[in-house]
Amino acid sequence: MREITYREAVREALREEMKRDESVFLLGEDIGVFGGSYKVTLNLIDEFGAERVLDTPLAEEGIVGTAIGASMVGMRPVAEIMYIDFSTLSYDMTINLAAKLRFMSGGKLKLPLVIRTQEGGGVSAGPQHSQCLEAIYGHIPGLIVVLPSTPYDAKGLLKSAIREDNPVVFIEHKGMYGMKGNVPEEEYTIPLAKGDIKREGTDVTVVALSRSVIFALEAAEKLQLENISVEIIDPMTIKPLDEDIIIESVKKTGRLVIVHEACKMYGFGAEIAATVADKALDYLDAPIKRVAALDVPIPFGMRLENFVLPNVEDIIKAVKQTML
């Protein structure tokens, strides 16, 4: 099968959906000729024109608010927020409006809207350009929150997100844009709200998110050399959450490690741990472990950043702790 990058996979999904449905359009800062800060939308303006690849003023609240408005009248906007850190500027629109307008209309309005953004550290971008904020969106009823970890998933999930009639927050990872993976030429979609088993195993379940899936896979390879068999579950959509795939795995392995790049307190890991404690406590043979960033702002400089962010070694250590 052909290999393309995560960036190209996202772009292909956008292109195919724009071709398929004229109501799909893109808006965001510098997404036109510039092709976006991470070049995801590069050249799409040539193919679809400046109206459907709409460069906007630097105003996140305006971007998301405008996208919501357009979605209320049947358009399918895909808004790009350059960094998830900047999406804090559009919380009001996302949390108070996108997530609630359908309910407030008595269940009548459709909001077919995607907010694409990217998160994560690893490039010395410092405290205001490196955060992982998915848990904030996961907390809000009315939103669907997706974090793809491979090019294949990114393309299939984004196509589904664009066809979805609810607001979707689609969170890419800046550290994965150049990563290559198998993506078929043929049309496919991946359903939202369904998890994926990224590796089968029998001893320990690792639930990982976004780029942490890549680290977990590497850790699993190393652990296999020590005869520890790790099963890796990638929920892909964190809201709604595919609880069954996690519970089933934990019932099989009896051990659970959760990995994410966001800091630990009140994070995605806490939700998974609570869910498993609630629904599969009797199956657990060891305490649940979470691997996450330290509870500090992301510092500038690689040495400090590496100290703060979870890595392969941390995952190995946590898995072994559940095997004691």
């Binding site: 800062e29 510098d30 305006g62 410092g126 307190m265 509870d295 941390d314």
Partner: protein, 333 residues
Amino acid sequence: MKLNNSTIKDIYLMMKSCRAFEERAIAELRKGMPGFIHSSVGAEAIPCGISPFLNKEDYILTTHRGHSDIIARGANFKKVMAELYAKETGYCRGVSGSMHIAALDLNILGATGIVGSGIPLASGVALGSKLKKTDQVTVCYLGDGSTCTGAFHEGLTFAAAFDLPVLFVLVNNQYEESTHWTYWGGRLKNLAERANGYGIEGISVDGNDAIAVAEVASKIIPKIRKGKGPVLLEGVTYRIYGHHMGDPGVGYRTKEEIESWKAPDKDPIKRLLNYLLKNNLITEEEDKEIDVKLNDELDDSVQFALESKEVEPEAAFANSVYCGRDAFNLSKI
């Protein structure tokens, strides 16, 4: 107000310092210094024209593109370079980097990488000075793109509502990342017109004419200090490099356009040098000596940064995430 010659010459020296620092920082970045640089090359006349009229007690806040703003305010080459190199001897112990330098000993309250977010902060700083009944002025540097944000609107609304002693310095380098300001602001003659919406004074000057900037600054800063209310001062300039050094800066604008802004009649440093030469305020030899001296100082600053240590991770977060409390949950597992 007529500027005296020594002020004009000081402004020139300051502009050279800003330019030399930035060019060296870019060279170091290309040699492997970490992070990003959003270069302020080309816009030096604006902070250098303003800074001479500030008191030591006045405050400044700046942006991700703020190296010249802080150097014009007296920031130390070594401490800035060390910060860029993520070293403990930097202004923020190397945890903050190019985009977020604060130098509290110089009343440089910091820079922020979230466009526009410094604007309401500046109103708050000015409110503090007003409540404390000091005569401090706050200078808030902002870019053209930031005038699109809600923070700009709200920050100026507050400044106007409470007659705050704040000078909003709009460094219009014409490009918001890749987007020319007329793409969204084309109905305006200039961005100083935005001031009309708040009933405050808006002034637009040629931001590459250091003397013009300084003449305006020398008039309005004393007025602001006397409590006559905030002013929005736009300096029209040009961003010579790309959005950051990873952006070649072309595609959305032409090479010819960029070159035209480097010409002797456009570049702010060349323009002021011509003025100084014409008026016998400097000689070519003296100008070359300044370059040599700056080069030596920058050599020292790089050596200082390279020889400095990175902050120890354990120490980096003690008393820095919280004041008076250690960070907690310092375990990844």
